[in-house]
């Protein structure tokens, strides 16, 4: 499974846009990129998933360049409640032998300040 590298921590202020970049140089052709958010004492929560180009939902956008060796999670206008750990994961969601299993990297601890 492709290994991911993210910044260990980031700081931001309320109302700013936050971009968290994840490197996955060994991404395979069939791999998808998935981001999860985790608050203390809670399980991770799915944010967004993509394969290429750009994906947008109600909470975030995911930008994936053509070579797919990196991806950027964009959180528009963050609030204090967005303070959490953000995980980037790469894997083949169609490979049933893997069971869609997720290998979590170290994650990025985002701290949003007033």
């Amino acid at each position: 499974l492709a290994k991911t590298t993210q910044p260990i921590s980031m700081d931001s202020y309320e109302g700013q846009e936050v971009n968290i970049t994840c490197s996955h140089n060994n991404i395979a052709t069939n791999d998808y990129i998935t981001w999860y958010q985790q608050f203390p004492s809670q399980g991770p929560r799915f944010i967004i998933q993509g394969y290429k180009t750009k994906v947008t939902n109600e909470v975030a956008s995911l930008f994936i360049p053509a070579d797919r060796k990196s991806s950027t999670l964009s959180l528009p206008r963050v609030s204090l409640s967005d303070t959490a750990v953000y995980y980037c994961l790469v894997g083949d969601i169609r490979d049933n032998n893997q069971g869609g299993k997720l290998i979590f990297g170290q994650g990025t601890e985002l701290s949003v300040k007033p």
Binding site: T34, Q42, G43, R94, N96, G100, L102, F104
Partner: protein, 116 residues
């Protein structure tokens, strides 16, 4: 609301005393997972079930076992807990839909296990 429920939220056991953690789901998902998460670390996959097929990660200690008696329930058994097994244990589910692949995983809020 459909969800993944883990009970209890906090579990205390004694060194070497077997303990069982439980997970139930109302999502009717065919895949269930168990993760271990130690303090300030990322979740680590222990094993998963695709329906009744059990898949163990290569580095999961033999001390950890799992049972899935039906679609809705999955159990994590730790036969002889050691101090190093103190962690948050997370259960997750997903739906594998053939050509569409696995849908994103839904996690419970975990059981925090303490070892005395």
């Amino acid at each position: 609301d459909a969800m993944v429920i883990q009970n209890p939220r906090y579990q205390v056991t004694q060194f070497g005393k077997p303990v069982t953690l439980s997970c139930s789901q109302t999502l009717n998902h065919n895949v269930m997972y168990w993760y271990q998460q130690k303090s300030s670390q990322a979740p680590k996959l222990l094993f998963h079930y695709y329906d009744k097929d059990f898949n163990n990660e290569a580095d999961t200690p033999d001390n950890f076992q799992s049972r899935r008696p039906n679609t809705s329930f999955c159990f994590l058994d730790i036969r002889s807990p050691g101090l190093g097994d103190a962690a948050m244990y997370l259960c997750a589910t997903s739906s594998y839909r053939g050509v569409s692949g696995n849908q994103p995983q839904h996690f419970g809020d975990g059981t925090r296990l303490s070892i005395l």
